[in-house]
Every structure is written in structure tokens, then in C-alpha cells.
Symmetry: C2
Subunit: 335 residues, 2 copies
């Protein structure tokens, strides 16, 4: 008798933080091993917001994932861009990422007032360049995403041909917007399908589950999970995997981010299996994204076996989600 | 020209964690220096729940505060007690503290089912022994106090002569209960007058502001502050000052508790002054408690001067609330 197996074809992570330098070289191969491609976030210091910086960062990323069938989909950090600038970079990016000023890690050079990028948004719509958004305001932490939803609705209505991705949605109400505006899409992380604020702060405080947007209420998590398990056609997996060295997590001022990249797929297989939805996982982790973003990632088949494994305690100085926890599924082969 | 001064007479902290051993010897004098008395929590391991343990702990506390005009008001950890047991300890305690099982630090031996202590509550009512309660359920972290409020209402109605103190209230709705049941009282901490969940998890995650019950929404904080500033006659100050060594705070599983004892009064003077309510502070930090609990603490006058100070970064291996932050007021004299 053989162990149960499961296959995923060209899985995609539509929201990853690869960082730069040593951290990039450590974490990028962990994604590139199992994923066939991913959307690389531009919130570096300084941000990826011109041609030269984009070219250099793309080259650095390609070097870090060399030897893997992995396509990095690069992004630009939103600022007011001229049409000429956008035209020069259009074919090298999957979209422009908008960070409202100050809402998350390395967003202090983000957009303070949307009016400042009106013309850029109009050009993007005209040129068919996707907008990706960290949709939070600076309101009370639990209200930030909900308070941003009218902005999504306003943008979706005023720029009807602009594809807008609500990144890492965390609330029932954000999920509901998918069905209200044709040009609104979303990514959702692994942790927001699994945890609530209870897991972060309900027992002992767990900095390794602290991220932005912060995990919300059980009804929010349940709504997101339901959309993922049905592979809602406008929803794609984006891990928002965000590595921080342990001394930036277990300290007096813990940085936001959960590191899931190396175990996300194994955990997703387990989660979808538990919920009797394994047949929807291929769409959730690849097919939806291929259709939504119009990408054709490298061919890659990941074979999972139900042989059990344990999540490593550390990857270098980075602690993953659920260190030491048992996994039912393990990656048996990638070809 | 002299600096502004302010006086408090026999300030009381109606909810303190003194711990045992080395920690007790370190933190108790920090409270005893400025406070004239305090309610000492019984959730040690094992809990303070019999005559011998109570006597030994009271003696250890008295040794730790020797030389200070400070009266420790001892408490018992709730379990089913016989009338005889209660009678033997009645004059040595200010009340019995009820911890629902598993809701906070060292509460795993707490009460699983209130029916188990019905007889004890009836005896306490008969004998005039106060009930103090950590009022949280095991619901979703932000709902725990609200979900417990019907229990307070039920107890208040069924034991109308039992004085019940809602410890460390954190919500608008808990504050409102004070005006609905004659025999319900409350303590409130310093941090719950100052912070919301935003301060804990809205920017970087701050383990030193993580406590149970967790800080809630701005409207909750504002409601508590309003009651404190008016020195609501059924509300007393109780710091819930809870020292943990830094390695139990800045780690993967941070213990709940904010350490405020050595700076609480100075911060309260500043807070009440800012809000034009300095004339209410004496009632909030002493007179209300003297009346509610029927205690007559040692005579002690604390003189504050507006000369400025800085909160120490550490007290041994314990990090206080707001380390390094400037204070307007400092303790100039205690006599």
C-alpha cells in the first residue's frame, strides 16, 4: 500500500516579500523550490520605483532563484509616474503596488493622498497596468481594512477598466466586495485562512503570528476560508510571506510579518483536504492566478505525499509559522 | 518661583501582583514606597487557597515591604471553601478572588463551573466576605469581558448582599454595569485608561503593553477614562501591575502583564492634570477604595513635583510600561 499523494501544477504565490541581499538569497530559493512563480513586493528601502532600481532588483531576484523553474513577477512601488516611465517598465512588471503612507513595513514613502496618483492611475488604466493595493487606513487597527473598502469601491467605479487587486484581504466585508465590482480581485494569505486575533493575542502573545493587516475575528477567517475552499474565481493565493530575523520579532517592537513560504503549499494541501476541497486547490494556488493576471508560469509539478513531516524551528535566523508543528503532507518530488 | 506640587494621601492600589521570592522582594518595595496599601493577588503556583499558605504568603509580603507604611490586603484564590475555612480566614483577607479556569496567568486551577462555588458564595454573602472576579470567558479575545457581563449581573442579582468587584474592567459595557447593580464595583488599571489595542498591535507589536484583559477599542478606553476622571464612586484604582522577567515578554510566547507599580502614581497625576481633573485623583486612588472596601490604610502623604523625570528602562530584569518616556511629575517626598 502506498501513501496518498497529491499533485499541484505550477503553483503560484501572488504576494511575496523576498527582501534583498542575504535575506533574499536565503528565502527566495525556499519559494522557488515549490512555486513556479510569484509576485515580488517592491517595498524595499529605498522602494523599487524607477527603471534602474527595477532592473537591478529583478536581476538580483533572478540570481537568487537560479536553477529553479520560477518566474518572478516584479512590481513597482506606487508614486506619481509619467506615462513615459510607465511605458518603459510596463512589460517588466505585473502591476504597481499602492501603499498608503505609513500603514505597514517600509511604507513611509507611500502615497499620502490618492489625488497625487490620479493621473498615474488613469495612465495605468489606459495602458492596461494592474493596480495592487495594501488596503488599510490609519484608523484603529481592527477597522483599517473595513475603513479602506470605500476607497476600493471608489477606484473600481472611477477606473472601470483598471484591474485592482485587494492584497491580503482579512475581512468578511472585503471578501464580499469581490462579487460587487467586476474589476476587483483579491489575494489571501495562508495565515488569514487559519488564524484569528485569538491566535496572536488570545493566549500568550505570539509575535510570529503578528502581521499586517492583523488577523481578525472568527467570522472573518471563516468567510475567507469559505472563498478559498470554493476557489472563488477572483481570489488567488498570495502568502505575504515576510521574513524578519528573530531579533526583530522577539523584541520590544516586533515587526509585522509571518514567514510561510517554505511550508505554505504543504499546509494548504492539509487544509483543503481536511475541508474536503482538495479538488479546488489547483484553482486556488494557480489556475485562478493564471487567468486573473494573464500569466503562463513555467511548467512544474509538485508531488505531495501524506507521510508526515515537522515544520523546521528555523530557517537561518528566521522563524516560520508554526515551528515544530507536525504536517500531514510533505513535498515528495518536484519536476 | 517654585515648581507646581501635588499631594496624595494614602494612595491605594487595589489590584497588584507581587509574586513570590526574588521577584516579590524586588517589586513589593517599589509599590510600598508610594502606596499606603494594596490588594495582593493570590494566583501563585500553587494558589493561595488555605490558611497555612495565606499566613506564609502574608508573612513573606510583610517582610518584603518592611520599613514602609504599607498595608497588604490579602486575598484568597477561589475554590469551594467550607464555612469553617472561611471563618478562620475572614479577618485576614479583603476578599476572595475568582478566576474562571484558564483565562489568565496561573488560572489553570481556577473555577471551571460556577455551580461548584455556589455554596461558598452563599457563605461569603452571609459572612460579609467580598468577591473579586477576573471577568472573562474563553470566547474570542475581544469578546471575553462582554461575554462575562451576564455572569456579573446574575451573581449581583442572586447574591444581593455580596459585594462584587469587577477587576480591571476594559469595556464601555462593563463600566455601565456600575450604575445598574448596587453591589457591583470595579477596579481599573492605568494602562486601560491610556491605551487601546492600537498601542499593543497597531504599529510594531509591543509585548510590554500586552495584558489580560487585552486593551480594547478607543471608545472603551474613553469610557473608562471618563469614569476615572470623575472618580466614579464605585470605581477604584487597581494597577494590575504584573511583573515578568524580560525573557518572558520578549519571546515567542509573551506572558500577559504590564508593570506599572513604580510609575503609576506619577503617570496618574499627569493624566488627571492634563484632563483638568486633578481634584478627583484623591478619590480615585484612595478615598473611593477606603469607602468601598471599608479600609483605613496607614497615613502617608506623597508629594509630587512637576520637575520632570524619565521612566527607567528596567527594574532589574523587569521592563516597565513606557520605558524611557518622559514624565512631567516626579515623587519629591513621601512622609
Amino acid at each position: 500500500m502506498t501513501n496518498p499523494t497529491c499533485f499541484l501544477h505550477s503553483p503560484l504565490d501572488m504576494h511575496i516579500h523576498f527582501r534583498e541581499g542575504d535575506m533574499l538569497r536565503r528565502v527566495a530559493p525556499l519559494s522557488a523550490r515549490t512555486f513556479a512563480g510569484g509576485v515580488i513586493m517592491p517595498n524595499l528601502v529605498p522602494p523599487v520605483d524607477d527603471f534602474g532600481r527595477l532592473e537591478r532588483y529583478a536581476a538580483e531576484v533572478r540570481t537568487a532563484v537560479a536553477g529553479h523553474a520560477f518566474e518572478p513577477y516584479m512590481t513597482l512601488f506606487m508614486r506619481p509616474y509619467t506615462e513615459k516611465e510607465l511605458a518603459s517598465m510596463k512589460d517588466r512588471i505585473i502591476g504597481v503596488k499602492l501603499y498608503p503612507e505609513g500603514v505597514t513595513t517600509h511604507s513611509d514613502t507611500g502615497v499620502g493622498n490618492l489625488r497625487d496618483v490620479e493621473d498615474t492611475l488613469a495612465s495605468m488604466e489606459e495602458m492596461g497596468i494592474r493596480l495592487m493595493v495594501h488596503g488599510e487606513t490609519s484608523d484603529f487597527v481592527l477597522d483599517r481594512e473595513r475603513a479602506f473598502l470605500p476607497v476600493y469601491e471608489d477606484l473600481a467605479a472611477r477606473f472601470p477598466r483598471l484591474d485592482i487587486v485587494m492584497e491580503h484581504i482579512t475581512t468578511l466585508e472585503a471578501a464580499a466586495l469581490l462579487d460587487r465590482h467586476e474589476n476587483l480581485y483579491a489575494t489571501v494569505t495562508l495565515q488569514h485562512l487559519l488564524i484569528t486575533l485569538d491566535d496572536v493575542a488570545g493566549g500568550l502573545l505570539n509575535p510570529h503570528l503578528f502581521c499586517k493587516p492583523i488577523a481578525k475575528r472568527p467570522e472573518d477567517r471563516d468567510a475567507l476560508l469559505a472563498r478559498a475552499l470554493e476557489a472563488h474565481p477572483k481570489l488567488a493565493f498570495g502568502s505575504d510571506s515576510a521574513p524578519h530575523p528573530v531579533d526583530r520579532k522577539e523584541c520590544a517592537g516586533c515587526a509585522a510579518g509571518v514567514f510561510t513560504a517554505p511550508v505554505a503549499l504543504q499546509m494548504l494541501v492539509g487544509l483543503f483536504e481536511e475541508n474536503g476541497a482538495l479538488d479546488q486547490l489547483q484553482a486556488f494556488v494557480s489556475d485562478n492566478a493564471q487567468r486573473i493576471y494573464g500569466v503562463a508560469p513555467p511548467e512544474k509539478t509538485v508531488v505531495f505525499e501524506k507521510t508526515g513531516a515537522v515544520i523546521p524551528e528555523r530557517y537561518g535566523d528566521v522563524i516560520p509559522m508554526y515551528p515544530g508543528r507536525k504536517l500531514d503532507w510533505t513535498v515528495a518530488d518536484v519536476h
